[in-house]
């Protein structure tokens, strides 16, 4: 079954901005799906429409076969949203935020308390349940939003840049939580600007640009299209001239860092053989950019509107 099915979705804002120009998108049940795109591409508008925060101009949205126009309450009952911005009542306690949310979904108070406890323990917030939410740290507030989105056990969880502005430690722990939630059967749609996050977590991906889907495929098949990897190498000894190795593009940064473009057909083994022949010793090696980041930029560049 499809967790989300979007057909010909269009949105024109009052000022005439054509934010969505007819999007078709399917997300299978159980998937961990990335919806990526540059700022202003239409990601948030799409999510806003799916979550009933934005009124669409045209098109259909179905959530687990429930049409958002014809069977609105059922369709909405399937969704949980973790928005970009903190949007809970900061004067309420953590537990009250979750209990109210459960109440909006018609969950009786006794059951709501059980659900809230489960979610707060999962998010390691149980000890903070009676804390007024404005007193929480940024990372805790993010986790409150995830707990709130999960309290009614949604079948489709939408995460709109859930780790924006949080430190790397919290981000990694949130990745683990998201994986656990997905493993329990919840379909997840993730938008993020951290492409490493999408690459690590998601199985399928759609890239949206200028209100259109420009790519929609499996993450693995998209990454397989990448022909060149970019590496930074730290040399043991400084050099004065850039080594010339046929088949590789190499730049010298300072006197001991090499930026190397490695085409797939050449491979790293040959590069190291050539460097060894030239008596160059490499201390460390790292990817210059995330693989998905490179593909993302290529796709977005291709989709730039032609200037007159």
């Amino acid at each position: 079954m499809k967790a989300l099915s979007i057909r010909n979705l269009q949105k024109t804002y009052k000022g005439g901005v054509h934010a969505l120009k007819g999007i078709d998108l399917d997300v299978e049940e159980g998937d961990f799906f990335a919806l990526l795109g540059p700022n202003g591409a239409g990601k948030s508008t799409t999510i806003g429409i799916v979550c009933s925060l934005v009124t669409k101009t045209k098109g259909t949205v179905k959530i687990f076969d429930a049409d958002l126009d014809k069977n609105r309450e059922l369709a909405k009952s399937y969704i949980g949203l973790v928005p970009q911005e903190i949007n809970f009542n900061q004067f309420e306690t953590v537990q009250d935020i979750l209990l109210n949310q459960a109440g909006y979904y018609g969950i009786p108070r006794k059951q709501a308390r059980k659900n809230a406890e489960k979610c707060l323990r999962q998010m390691q917030l149980w000890d903070k349940r009676n804390t007024v939410s404005r007193r929480l740290s940024g990372g805790m507030k993010r986790r409150v939003m995830i707990a709130r989105a999960l309290v009614h056990s949604p079948r489709l969880l939408i995460l709109d840049e859930p780790t924006a502005g949080v430190d790397i430690e919290i981000r990694r722990s949130m990745w683990q939580l998201m994986r656990e939630v997905n493993a329990e059967g919840t379909t997840i749609i993730l938008t993020t600007h951290y492409l490493e996050e999408a690459e690590n977590l998601c199985r399928n991906i759609a890239i949206i640009n200028h209100g259109r889907i420009v790519e929609n495929s499996r993450m693995s098949s998209l990454l397989a299209r990448l022909n060149v990897d970019y590496f930074v190498m730290d040399l043991a000894h400084p050099i004065k001239e850039v080594p010339e190795i046929p088949g590789f593009s190499i730049e010298l940064e300072g006197d001991s860092l090499l930026n190397v473009a490695v085409p797939k057909e050449q491979g790293l083994n040959r590069l190291f053989q050539e460097l060894t022949k030239r008596d160059l010793q490499v201390l460390s090696l790292k990817n210059k950019s995330n693989r998905l980041e490179q593909l993302f930029l290529d796709l977005i560049d291709k989709d730039q509107p032609q200037s007159a």
Partner: protein, 254 residues
């Protein structure tokens, strides 16, 4: 979807909100109305004498109570719903499967609850200054309920359209308060020149205050049936208009 649970959730949240901040919501009307009763009722009222065969203090009590109910029913919904919009936790409700009529009923009931609570506080204070035995308690309570419903709905509509904190204080300050004062709280419209009597009849608050006064002390400047027709008419119109605004997402959706 259990709409009753959703309604109770919103209603309880609203009641907890205004009781949590009782020094801002329940204490000020107690102090203000004590001053009204002391200054207008006791000190100045003794010199005014009787209106419609009742003491001036007895005459102003119903109007002062209802004026408090009006302003607090309105203020509760307008400030709460606008804050919900401003802090964006309106999104919690918009995303959830709560029908629009439940959202409206929840917020309006919260406004009614505050209006009734403030009305009770003011009525209790009035008993320190006068001994009114309600002529028709059921009628008086019904008028209070209808009036608080009407102004809670008006507050909701104000909050929907408001795009700043200034916008939620303009109507209470420049429309509601003048209309309340000119609605016969402190005087009988029969005391006015004929032209002003006719103009006063265009003020809907005049009908509500007089209907309530009739329920409490059996005195009124207007036809009670007309008061009920006007109040009910406004309530019906405002309910449909509020639901229309929610359906269209005016002020709350992009």
């Amino acid at each position: 979807m259990n709409n009753w649970i959703a309604f109770i959730t919103i209603f309880t949240k609203e009641v907890r909100r205004f009781t949590r901040i009782w020094p801002q919501t329940l204490l000020p009307p107690a102090i203000t109305t004590s001053l009204y009763f002391l200054i207008f009722g006791t000190l100045i009222g003794q010199r005014i004498g009787k209106i419609h065969d009742v003491s001036y203090m007895e005459f102003i009590v119903p109007g002062v109570i209802l004026m408090s109910v009006i302003s607090h029913s309105y203020a509760n919904v307008v400030s709460s719903f606008y804050s919900t919009k401003f802090q964006k936790h309106i999104e919690e409700l918009l995303i959830s499967p709560v029908p629009n009529w439940v959202i409206l009923a929840g917020y309006v009931s919260g406004g009614i609850a505050r209006g009734l609570m403030v009305g009770s506080v003011v009525a209790g204070i009035s008993l320190l200054f006068t001994n009114i035995l309600p002529e028709n308690l059921g009628l008086a309570l019904f008028v209070v309920l209808m009036t608080s419903t009407l102004f809670a709905l008006a507050g909701f509509i104000n909050a929907v359209f408001a795009d700043s904190f200034d916008a939620i204080s303009i109507i209470p300050n420049f429309i509601l308060t003048p209309l309340s004062y000119l609605g016969g709280v402190f005087y009988s419209v029969s005391m006015l020149p004929e032209i002003w009597q006719k103009i006063s009849m265009l003020n809907p608050i005049l009908y509500m205050i007089n209907a309530f006064r009739y329920g409490l002390i059996g005195v009124s400047d207007v036809d009670i049936q007309m008061a009920f027709i006007i109040t009910s008419g406004f309530i019906v119109v405002l309910i449909f208009f509020s639901l229309f605004l929610l359906h269209k997402g005016v002020g709350i959706k992009n």
